[in-house]
C-alpha cells in the first residue's frame, strides 16, 4: 500500500465520518425540534395572549431600530412600529449619521422637537448629537436619537443607553412585524424569570403584499433565489434554532428581531462593534457571562412567524450577505475559542460551540475542498464512480430529508403557504436546491473566509428592491397619471 492509497483512505474515512456525524446531529435536532414545536402548539391553545394587550402588568419594552440612509421608507416603517398591539412599549429609532434626508423626513412627519434627554452612557458609543420627541401626543412613544455614524452595533448600543425599559427589542428598521409580535415575545420572559433573551422566527417577505408597513397577504416569492431562501429560513428557524432553544443551547438570535433583558445586555457590555456578527456575539457573550456567574438562564425561541424581512433577490447582494455571515461566524468563533469543548460552559461549550465550528463554519469549507479534490481525482483518472455516485445520492437524500421534515413542521405549525401549488413549488425548490442554490451558499462562504484572510471588515451595502405594496402600486399609478 503506497502513501497515495493511504492518503485516499484517510480522506475517504474523514468524509464519511463527517457526513455521518452531520446526519446524526440533524436527525437528533429534527426529533427535538418536532417535540418542541408540538408542545408549543398544544400549549398555545391554553393561553390568551391577548390578555397582555391591556394589562398594566405587562413589562416595559423598548423597540430599538437603527436607521442608516432609510429616507425612502423610514416614515412608513416607524408608523408600522408605532401601531403594534402592546400596552407598555416605546420606539427608539437611532439615526446612525445618515447621509440622506432620513432625519429631516422623520422630524417633519412626526412633529419632533429636540429635547434635553440626559443619557447615561453605560456602553460607550459614538457621540449622540441630539434626541428628539414628538409634540404630538399620538406619537409620545417615539424617540429619535441622532448620532455620529458608528455602525449597526454602535447604534443599537446608543438606543440601549437611551432606553429605560426592562426589555429591549433590537430590530432592523425595514422589517415588518406582526401586530402581536411583542405580546408573543414577551411571554417567555413573563413565564420564566431565568429567560435572558428570546428570538422570533424571521420569514421572507419578498412577493408578500405589504400595506402601510403591515403584512396583508403571504405569497411565496416569485424570484427563485428568494424562494430557496424561504426553505432555508424555515429550516434554520423551525428545525435548528427551535431544537437548540429546547436544549437551551441557542447561540444565535437573529439581528432582525430579538428581545433581551436590558440590564443584562448592559452588564455584558452591549453589542460588540468589532465584528459583523454582532447578534451572535452578544448571545454567546451573555451566555458565557451567566455561566461564569453560576446563574440559571435560558435563551428561548418562539416558532410563531413574527418578523418578515426582504431577502436578497440578486446574486450580487446575496453573495455579499452570505460573505458577511461567514465572516461574522468566524469572528465570533475566534473571539470565544475558550468555549471549544469546555465542560465549564456546559451545553454552550460542549455542544453549541462545536456544532457551529464544525457544521456551520467548517462544513462549507470542507465541501469546497471536497469539490477541488474531486476535480483533482478526475484529472488523475482515479475517481471511483460507484463510490462517488453513492455518496452523492446519500447527501442528496439527506438534503431532501431535512427539507421534507421542515415542510412537515411548517404544515403542523403555522401553515403560512396555504395553496397546494405553493407547497409543490417549495417541494420543487427542495429538490433543486442541492444543485442550484447550495453551491452558491458554499461559494459565498468560501469567499467570506478568503476575505477574513485579506482582513476585510466592512458590512457591504445591502440594496433592497422593496416589498410589493398596494400603496406603492397606487402611488406609482398616480405618478404615471400626472406625468401623462
Amino acid at each position: 500500500m503506497n502513501i497515495w492509497t493511504i492518503l485516499t483512505h484517510i480522506v475517504d474515512f474523514f468524509v464519511l465520518g463527517f457526513s455521518v456525524s452531520l446526519t446524526i446531529c440533524y436527525l437528533f435536532l429534527s426529533c427535538v425540534s418536532f417535540f418542541a414545536i408540538r408542545k408549543y402548539m398544544r400549549r398555545r391553545s391554553l393561553y390568551r395572549v391577548n390578555d397582555i394587550i391591556s394589562s398594566p402588568m405587562a413589562p416595559s419594552v423598548s423597540l430599538i431600530a437603527p436607521a442608516y440612509n432609510e429616507g425612502m421608507t423610514i416614515v412608513e416603517n416607524i408608523r408600522s412600529m408605532l401601531s403594534l398591539e402592546y400596552n407598555n412599549y416605546d420606539v427608539i429609532v437611532v439615526n446612525d449619521g445618515s447621509k440622506d434626508d432620513t432625519l429631516e423626513k422623520v422630524i417633519k412627519a412626526f412633529d419632533l422637537i429636540q429635547v434635553p434627554l440626559h443619557v447615561n452612557a453605560k456602553v460607550s458609543t459614538q457621540e449622540i448629537v441630539s434626541v428628539y420627541k414628538s409634540q404630538n401626543r399620538s406619537f409620545k412613544k417615539l424617540t429619535i436619537v441622532n448620532k455620529v455614524n458608528g455602525g449597526k452595533a454602535d447604534a443599537l448600543n446608543a438606543g440601549i443607553n437611551v432606553s429605560s425599559s426592562r426589555l429591549v427589542a433590537c430590530i432592523d428598521v425595514d422589517c415588518v412585524l406582526e401586530n402581536d409580535a411583542l405580546q408573543r415575545m414577551v411571554k417567555p420572559f413573563m413565564e420564566d424569570s431565568s429567560v435572558i433573551a428570546s428570538g422570533g422566527v424571521v420569514r421572507i417577505a419578498n412577493s408578500c403584499e405589504i400595506e402601510h408597513g403591515k403584512l396583508i397577504n403571504v405569497n411565496l416569492p416569485k424570484n427563485m433565489l428568494a424562494r430557496f431562501q424561504v426553505l432555508e429560513y424555515l429550516r434554520a428557524f423551525l428545525l435548528s434554532r427551535m431544537a437548540w432553544a429546547r436544549l437551551n443551547g441557542l447561540l444565535l438570535i437573529s439581528g432582525a428581531f430579538g428581545l433581551f433583558d436590558r440590564k443584562l445586555i448592559l452588564k455584558a457590555g452591549g453589542y460588540s462593534t468589532d465584528t459583523v456578527g454582532e447578534d451572535m456575539e452578544l448571545v454567546v457573550r451573555m451566555r458565557s457571562m451567566m455561566t461564569r456567574a453560576g446563574k440559571k438562564f435560558r435563551v428561548t425561541m418562539i416558532p410563531d412567524p413574527l418578523c418578515w424581512t426582504e431577502a436578497p433577490s440578486t446574486n450580487k447582494v446575496f453573495e455579499k450577505q452570505r460573505n458577511r455571515w461567514a465572516r461574522g461566524t468566524y469572528e465570533v468563533l475566534q473571539k470565544h475559542t475558550y468555549l471549544f469543548f469546555n465542560s465549564k460552559y456546559k451545553i454552550t461549550g460542549l455542544f453549541g460551540y462545536p456544532f457551529w465550528f464544525f457544521f456551520e463554519w467548517m462544513a462549507p469549507l470542507l465541501e469546497f475542498c471536497g469539490a477541488v479534490y474531486f476535480i483533482f481525482l478526475l484529472f488523475t483518472g482515479s475517481v471511483s464512480w460507484t463510490y462517488f455516485l453513492s455518496l452523492l445520492v446519500m447527501f442528496y437524500c439527506f438534503s431532501i430529508f431535512i427539507s421534507s421534515f421542515t415542510l412537515y413542521a411548517e404544515e403542523i405549525s403555522f401553515y403560512k403557504y396555504k395553496g397546494v401549488k405553493d407547497q409543490l413549488r417549495l417541494l420543487a425548490a427542495a429538490l433543486l436546491e442541492p444543485f442550484i442554490y447550495h453551491p452558491r451558499v458554499v461559494w459565498a462562504s468560501v469567499k467570506g473566509n478568503i476575505d477574513i484572510l485579506k482582513g476585510v471588515k466592512s458590512w457591504g451595502e445591502m440594496t433592497r428592491s422593496g416589498f410589493s405594496s398596494k400603496t406603492k402600486v397606487a402611488e406609482l399609478k398616480k405618478v404615471t397619471t400626472i406625468s401623462n
Partner: protein, 360 residues
Amino acid sequence: MISRLQFLEDQDPKMIFIFGVTVVLTGLIIFFLSLIIISKISRTRDRRLKRKYWPYIKEHLAMIAIQSVVNEGVKYDYRRSLRFLMQIRNRSRKIAQWVLDEIMKQKANLTGEANKTMLKVYRDLNLKTYSLRKLKSFNSNTVARGIYELESMEQRDVFSKFYKFLGSKNTDLRMAARLGLTSLAPNPLSFLDHLKEELSEWEQMSIYNRLRSKHKDQLPDFSKFYYHEQPSAVAFCVEMTVRFNYFELIPQLIELLKTTKNRSMVIDALKELEAFQALPYVKRLIHKSNNPQTIISCLNFLAHIGDESCRSIFETFIEHKNFEVRMAAVGMAAKLNIEFESSSEELESMLLHHQNELIS
C-alpha cells in the same frame, strides 16, 4: 429479500454503510412526505366540514343571543336552534368541540342576558359533561383544556375538582388549576396556601385579569399573604393592594416595610397609595439603606409625597456614586421645586431632563 441483497456481500463496508444510510434517509423522506399528504387531506376534510357546519353553528348561536335580548318568541327559536345544535354536536367529537369553542367565544364577547344565555346553551347541550370528561384524561394538556372550558363557562360547582391538579408535575396544568380556582372558588386565592414554587409574572397577570372581573366583596384579603414563604406571592399581593386601591391596608404595608427584604416594592406600593403615614418611616429608611434600589424608591416616594423639608435628603444623595440614585434625587428636587445651584454640568443636564414635559 436476503437473496436480493446478496450483491452487498462483495462490497466494501463503506459502500454498505452508505447504502444503509441512504435507505434510512429515503424511508424518512417518504414518511414525512406521507405525513404532509395526510395532514393536507385531514385539513381539507376539516375545512369542508367547517364550511358545511360553521355558518349554521354561528347563525344559531347568534340567533339565540339576539332572541335573549329581544325577548320575543324565545321559546320557539331557542328550542329549534338547540335541537339543531344538538344534532350537529352528536355528529363527531371534533364538531362538538367546534360548537363549544364558538359558545366560549360568543360568551366572551357578550354581556348581560346574552352572556347568560350562552351558559344555558352550554348546559342544555350537555357540553359540561364533555368538559368534565377531559379532567379524567391522562394527557395534561387535555386536562388543562377541560379546566379552561369549565372556568370560561363559569361552572362554579366543580372548582373543588381542581385542587388535585395543584400538585401536578405539568406546569401548564398547575397554572390552569390555579387560574380556574381564582375564577370559580369562593376564596379566589385559596391556592396560595398550597403554593411552593415561584408565581410567574404571566400567572400574576392572568390572576389579576380574573380578579378584575370580580366584585370588590369577592376580593380576598391580600394582607393575609404578606408574610407568605414565596416572595413572588408577597410581591403579587402587594401589587394587588395597589391595583385595587386598598387604602385600608396601608398600616399593614408599613408593618411589612419593617420586616421584608424587598423594601423597594413596598415603598413603591405606598407611593402609589399616596400613604402620607409612611413619610417618617421612609425618611428614616433612606438614611439607613445601602441598597440603591431601595434608595431610588424612597426618593421617588418623597418626590410624590414629600415637601420642602426633604431638601437635606436631596443634598445627601445628589453626590451619590450611583447614577440612578443621583438621577432620582434630581428628579425629586425638580418635582418638589427645591431650588439649588447646579454645581456640575451633569446636574444641570439632569435637571433639564426632569423639567422637560415631553421626557417625563
